[in-house]
Subunit: 192 residues, 2 copies
């Protein structure tokens, strides 16, 4: 549960805690990073809105439609995509509360399918995984991760796999998750 500086809890968080909290801090950090990238025209990468099925809308005034019944929908794609250096970029981001491994059930089957799909079409695709208790955020290439998932029987990816095969994402104040630094090195073969 997230406590806000003013001591109040956000309604959304309070109500739908176990589902909605997961990954909120990482999401905030990635959004801030993307805003920074956009502000200096380095990349155009956005988070997709949370998919909801809208059932009822009150329409008291022309200017103010109020949705009064809606439900969360399973996403059919990853959360983030956009363009960087002329390439289509696609990734999913997940927080992991465990210290020793990342449980595969946090990624939906159709998200893996989506990542395979965009890879086939020439995308740069990856996962951003934050081990919250360790304070470490990794970029794992989607192709390599999917290969690992398909060849192992495990229900999770051990932490050691990330330290060996994934790439620690540097942090700084204006770019809390500076993943394009890793993307440059990994997909554009730049030394920094």
């Amino acid at each position: 549960m997230v406590n806000y500086p003013n001591g109040k809890k956000n309604t959304f968080h309070t109500a739908a805690a176990s589902q909605a909290d997961r990954g909120m801090a990482l999401e905030k950090d990635i959004n801030a990073t993307n805003e920074y990238y956009l502000s200096i025209d380095r990349a155009v990468i956005h988070k997709k809105p949370t998919p909801v099925t809208i059932v009822k809308v009150d329409y008291p005034r022309r200017s103010a439609a109020k949705i009064t019944e809606a439900y969360f929908k399973l996403p059919s794609t990853t959360d983030y995509n956009g363009i960087y250096r002329g390439k289509y970029i696609d990734f999913e981001a997940k927080e992991c509360a465990q210290k020793t491994s990342f449980p595969l059930k946090s990624i939906h089957e159709h998200q893996i399918k989506h990542l395979s799909s965009v890879l086939n079409h020439g995308a740069i695709a990856f996962l951003i995984i934050r081990f919250t208790k360790l304070g470490e955020t990794y970029l794992a290439d989607a192709e390599e991760t999917i290969r690992y998932i398909n060849t192992c029987d495990r229900q999770s990816i051990p932490y050691e796999w990330f330290t060996e095969h994934a790439h620690l994402i540097p942090y700084n104040y204006v770019r809390p998750v500076d993943y394009l630094q890793v993307v440059d090195r990994l997909y554009f073969k730049e030394n920094q």
Copy 2:
């Protein structure tokens, strides 16, 4: 207002008619086309979910979160993006009920800004405009359209501009808006 075959009106349509109906038929056609493209692995292009600000969520059971208060948010990007032939694709789609011109107020300022932005980064970007009363759907290159908008003082783009500078999108049953046929010709210089 859309009337469904069973004589019932969809709650969402009934309630939020003027805002929500606009573009629904075109959206449905583009979604069907995108699903077809995806099914034959020709392209991975999705509509982004409608952005909403969630204010209240009821959480009676672990499995069923119900959103009880939410509001429509202005989109900060276009509705559609994805990857085709290794290129990042980005477009906005709008229905137009007028016969003689397309009113520019249907496209938000920040959507034009977003299109300029992705163009700068090497995207294939365009608008899909359907003149509903004429039954014609056009693909207009984003760069050309933005140039026209910036050089004219008008509040709308005349229909003749589309017949001269945009490209009629062919229709068929499985691909109701077969825009990739135009994309191939226009951006990949293919004769079909």
